[in-house]
């Protein structure tokens, strides 16, 4: 059967993608950002993941204001990088595990999570930047080393889904994946954040203390953490910091008891605190294949 073995939390700052695309990651400004992903890339390679289930948000790129689905599941055969106003990122097209995606769509709705099904979709930096930081440089003619199922969450128009809803959705995604017959190793990504505010007179807000407690409690106290009200994200982590609700989807899909195997935190990348964590389900609790 298919199984989720690990989770990755990861910022998806567009400037990180730009730095990789322009080949300037060795500049002093960027070195501390990318150093923290070196271990992650080795780890990612070792996982030999068949599928990444990637929770991210679109930044008013592919979805305009005419239709705002709270949860949209990518069911198309593939997802091309979108033009966000300065040309598409020169990275590979993302290929789906379309049969598993259809299975998840059907399972989730019967499990009372009424997601939107996307049979055509492009993807913006919210999806491609986590792929780039975890898998390293890839050109348009390369392939990503695994298949990707995107779940796009509305965090732009208030209210985003609650942390609790995201956490419960993670559990439903796990149930869906574990009821799929093919032997697949699935790693789930929750992306966005950490603290940042891009707009108006309070732009530039960073709250390292708040981010740190978020990372700590993701392992130790995930249920209470998922109850954090939206206003706390907005006030403490900046208006765009509310993206962090997407990390709860990832956490909900893992065991209650997980091991933190890697963490990285750095300020700044552009306007944003870069946060990253890798959580593994404890191996002795995994069922033997």
């Amino acid at each position: 059967m298919a199984r989720i073995t690990a989770g990755v939390g990861c910022s998806h700052v567009p400037a990180i993608g730009v730095a990789m695309d322009q080949g300037i990651t060795d500049q002093p400004y960027w070195v501390p950002v990318f150093d923290g992903f070196e271990k992650s890339r080795r780890w990612m390679k070792d996982q030999k993941a068949d599928v990444v289930f990637l929770v991210y948000n679109d930044h008013c790129t592919v979805f305009d204001a005419s239709c705002i689905p709270t949860f949209a599941l990518g069911c198309a055969p593939e997802f091309a990088p979108a033009d966000e106003g300065w040309g598409p990122r020169p990275v590979p097209v993302v290929k789906n595990h379309q049969v598993l995606a259809s299975h998840i769509a059907q399972s989730l709705i019967l499990d009372e999570f009424d997601i939107t099904i996307m049979n055509e979709m492009e993807v913006d930096h919210g999806l491609t930047v986590p792929m780039s930081v975890m898998f390293g440089d890839k050109g348009v003619n390369d392939e990503w080393p695994c298949l990707v199922i995107p779940l796009c969450v509305n965090v732009v128009q208030y209210p985003a889904p609650t942390g609790n809803r995201c956490y419960q959705l993670g559990k439903a995604i796990r149930r869906a994946i574990e009821s799929f017959d093919e032997d697949l190793n699935v790693v789930i990504f929750g992306t966005g954040g950490m603290s940042h505010q891009l707009q108006y007179k309070r732009a530039g807000l960073i709250n390292k203390e708040w981010d740190t407690q978020f990372l700590d409690r993701l392992t130790s106290d995930p249920v209470a953490l998922s109850q954090t009200p939206h206003v706390e994200y907005l006030r403490e982590a900046g208006s765009e910091g509310v993206e962090m609700v997407m990390w709860h989807v990832m956490r909900g899909a893992l065991d209650d008891d997980v091991e933190e195997v890697h963490r990285h935190y750095h300020v700044p990348a552009s306007n944003t605190a870069v946060g990253h964590i890798i959580l593994e389900n404890k191996k002795d609790q995994r069922e033997p294949k």
Binding site: D83, V156, Y158, L198, S239, P268
Partner: protein
């Protein structure tokens, strides 16, 4: 019963809720149209003619023409949309923040490199009214 907006007392911040989404709809749809090259070309060929395609308020239209970034947000714009217009002008997110905060590019960038804007004194509107770190 009216919804309680417990997020309205955060200083220097617009929470883009359903009311703002309604007010800013045409403005935001204009902005996102610029993500496509053919629309960028059409806008470049004539800003006024291109804007005629969107039923914005006079104030919104003027804010676009003036590139008054804060005014666009006050009138229902959202940063992810207005950033598309900024990108059209060759302005990235960080430069845009330098403009919106009135700090300018260099001072804003220096603040970020030094760890960003502290939440202390910046959580509640009354902290700013009392002469906080605005």
């Amino acid at each position: 019963m009216a919804l309680k907006k417990d997020y309205e007392d955060i200083p220097g911040t617009f929470v883009f809720d359903a009311d703002r989404g309604r007010e800013g709809y045409q403005l935001n749809q204009f902005c996102i149209s610029l993500r496509l090259q053919k629309n960028r070309d059409a806008f470049k060929a004539g800003e006024h003619a291109y804007l005629d395609g969107y039923k914005m308020t006079t104030e919104q239209r003027q804010a676009v023409l003036d590139r008054d970034w804060n005014r666009m947000l006050e009138l229902g714009g959202n940063i992810y949309y207005t950033s598309k217009l900024a990108a059209y002008d060759g302005i990235n997110f960080q430069q845009l923040a330098g403009l919106m905060t009135g700090m300018g590019d260099e001072a804003y960038r220096a603040m970020m490199v030094a760890g960003g804007r502290s939440p202390d004194g910046n959580r509640f509107q009354h902290e700013w009214d009392e002469g906080g770190d605005a």
